[in-house]
Symmetry: C2
Subunit: 80 residues, 2 copies
Amino acid sequence: MKIVINIQLKEGVLDPQGKAVHHALLALQFNEVQDARIGKQIILHVEDGEKDKILKRVKNMCENLLANTVIETYTIDIED
Amino acid sequence: MKIVINIQLKEGVLDPQGKAVHHALLALQFNEVQDARIGKQIILHVEDGEKDKILKRVKNMCENLLANTVIETYTIDIED
């Protein structure tokens, strides 16, 4: 089972990497870009099972290891 | 207009960061995890316009700056 976890910095948290990308895009004449923010996408493959249980486990993984919930938010998508 | 770009290492390209996360998850008793791979998610806000044109421009951004197409693949989603 494939799990896609997207982790982004919360609104209001400074994102220097995103700022750098934004500046680089402007320097390349992509002037239509108003803002850029950079996060992580983690793709897990886990053993098949009940979706509810898997979701609970993956949420645990995010809280305990993958995301820093003080400054980051995450979403979990389960793909079959 | 919000653009979500997901960038992942191609299949077969070694992902040491993913390996480290996988090992850490196993150490935390998440034994159901078979594989972990880590990529980037870039969220852009761009000026509104025709979807086709925006898609072409964002593809250009990916090819020229955001992704290393030798080792990475990317997907682009336009959200209104």
